[in-house]
Symmetry: C2
Subunit: 400 residues, 2 copies
């Protein structure tokens, strides 16, 4: 039996598993120490009442012969697609047809599985640092990867190199892990580049709900020409606290044609053949998110997390500490103290403040001197973490 | 942009979508005609009370800060893995460790996604007729496919050809679509063949809960040597009516090593990088299935479907009509009337009896003169269908 040898080129452990293992080991050695998790991008607010109510109602339906739901449409129920179409129309001014929206169990699955429909000998561009799933899933297929360093020099927003030849471009906007956000003008340059070079942009909009400035894009389709070159992947994980429920969606415009072949058709074909749709209950819950009461409740949660990131950025501002992000994003990309690597600073924050962060190098070499903090913990824990952070970082300032 | 051109070799529509479209068209033209669906293998019994209760409790937990669940372990919660381990130990006498059990959103995803961990230039054996997902997902990757015809000649149970060279072997047991079941002795021949030729068996046990004879295998690991050569994929779809909830699992024994590499490790790596786990609610419901009250309720549903298939096979027996399956399986593989192809018989049954079947040719060329009927409808509908079937088939007998 021949295995896929590309797998042997992967690091042995997924980044967040490594962090979890390190944290467990530390906690075991220091059982008294209270730890505060500002690492993984997991939400902490419970699901709002209208969503819970819908889940319970839908569960009851599954217990009655007349309302029981078996296999649903592989690409999602029409009523959920309609709700998402309306959301795009109302909040983004983007017109989609329900067929262009394909429901999935989350953005992670889609950003990785989308590679199935492309040639296995693609050249793929992605930022460094980057969401590890892009990198790992491309290594698994054996694609050639071109990294675009996101550094202080370019404001952590790499722009296209007009000489580069690439087939696929991953853009996460607002970006994970740096928390920065392209303007419409910058995104237009990417769209123009993709159109000119017949590349496809895989646009990960998982954090679009965190954008506070209406001038900033929340969908790539707000940019002229994007429907001819971009696939948009989105998720309810961060928008609506669905990290444990699992629901996302991918938009593949029917106008997106590669050498005469509709990518919408290919992706539908992939999902129809290799996936059996998202749990009926979860799709019902997702539709409830887009209902008026659901949406109001969700906004309250988003503001809650934004208050947390503001607390973090205010702490850093007061110290004049170097960072980006945290405004249109739940993520703050924090510079390590001089001379410390990301994992060193991770260990330092853990042992001196009990704060768990994500080492930037886990997202790529360019993150070697950064860590990622998130606004997803509770307000009380975040406030406590900020006090500790203030103490630890002040000391560094004094040591410099 | 280069697409995956293997996709262009696929038929334009997934089998069940074509049936649905044909049925919709017929129903639109004959709005008065009552149709009975004996086609797609979807369940009809609602979820039992203990499962619904668990779903509602878990939904309530998701609405409270203290009990809210975010990201779970990508490969499944330990308590669900433990429940499945116990199920294997108790009912099958098979000893597994929780690490060997990887929870997923269903067998369909797994039988297709498992190809990711193997070399893209594999030769793959599968029966003809076969569950279309095996065939389609292998065409998508560009694998070389060797079809093993399942015909009346070999009792619809192809045995290994000792001269054949293959890397992967799909076995569905009890088989979809034919409803037949390998004995332990027959399965032993497959295991021995795989061990000798270093092939891996992808054993789809989705219908294992329908096996009535304790002498027949319900897991390939009941066969000596299987842990060194087989991956077992199973699902709660048919066992527990989870077609709309979505939960399955794949067993990759740690003893399964290909050229020094642990396939368990590769599959865990794939799922950790490209999947974010099954909805917490659904995993809770799955665990409830394996509880004493859940299991009792599930058995009642299985017996209900078995009564339906018995009704179908009795009808066919009374006409001395040629068929297989229907005993250890919800599927009955029925010979078409002389001179009729599968789609002709599909049209005939639809227009003369309002019965929707699955044309055998949709599962492969060897099914050209068969249709698949299932026991998944209600008892009342199945009884009505059997009366109509009796009438239609009697006429054919007279016409011959």
């Amino acid at each position: 039996m021949k295995i896929n040898r590309n797998y042997l080129r992967l690091p042995d452990n997924y980044l967040f598993s490594t962090i979890a293992a390190k944290t467990r080991a530390y906690q075991a050695a220091h059982p008294q120490q209270a730890l505060i998790k500002l690492s993984i991008g997991d939400v902490s607010r419970p699901l709002p009442v209208p969503v819970v109510k819908t889940l319970q109602d839908a569960s009851a339906e599954m217990g009655q012969r007349a309302t029981f739901q078996g296999y649903g449409p592989e690409t999602g129920y029409p009523w959920l697609k309609a709700a998402i179409r309306d959301y795009y129309q109302t909040t983004k001014g983007v017109t989609l047809t329900p067929d262009e929206i394909i429901i999935s169990d989350g953005a992670k699955s889609d950003v990785a599985n989308l590679l199935d429909i492309f040639d296995p000998h693609c050249t793929v561009a992605m930022t460094d640092p980057v969401y590890p799933v892009y990198w790992e899933s491309n290594v698994m297929v054996g694609h050639k990867i071109k990294l675009l360093p996101a550094t202080a020099k370019n404001g952590f927003l790499p722009m296209p190199n007009r000489h580069a030849r690439v087939d696929l471009i991953y853009l996460c906007n607002p970006a994970n892990p740096t928390g920065v956000c392209y303007t419409r003008e910058q995104l237009k340059q990417w769209v123009d580049f993709a159109l000119k070079h017949h590349a496809v942009i895989l646009y990960d909009a998982a954090y679009e709900a965190f954008v506070r400035d209406p001038q900033l894009p929340t969908s790539i389709y707000q940019i002229a020409g994007a429907k001819q070159c971009a696939i948009e992947i989105c998720s309810l994980s961060k928008t609506a606290g669905f990290t444990g429920l699992r629901c996302g969606y991918t938009v593949v415009p029917t106008a997106l044609i590669a050498r005469g072949v509709s990518l919408n058709r290919l992706w539908q074909r992939r999902q129809t053949a290799k996936f059996n749709g998202v749990s009926y209950l979860v799709q019902r819950a997702a539709a409830a998110v887009f209902s008026p009461t659901g949406w109001t409740a969700i906004q309250r949660n988003l503001r809650y997390y934004q208050r947390n990131t503001t607390l973090i950025t205010q702490t850093l501002d007061s110290l004049n500490w170097s960072y980006v992000g945290g405004v249109h994003s739940p993520y703050v990309w924090v510079r390590c103290p001089k001379g410390q690597t990301a994992w060193q600073f991770f260990d330092y924050l853990l042992s001196h403040a009990g704060i768990i962060c994500t080492p930037g190098v886990g997202f790529g070499k360019a993150g070697e001197h950064y860590v990622r903090l998130t606004g997803f913990n509770t307000y009380a824990q975040t406030r406590r973490a900020c006090q500790l952070l203030n103490k630890v970082l002040t000391q560094f300032k004094q040591n410099i």
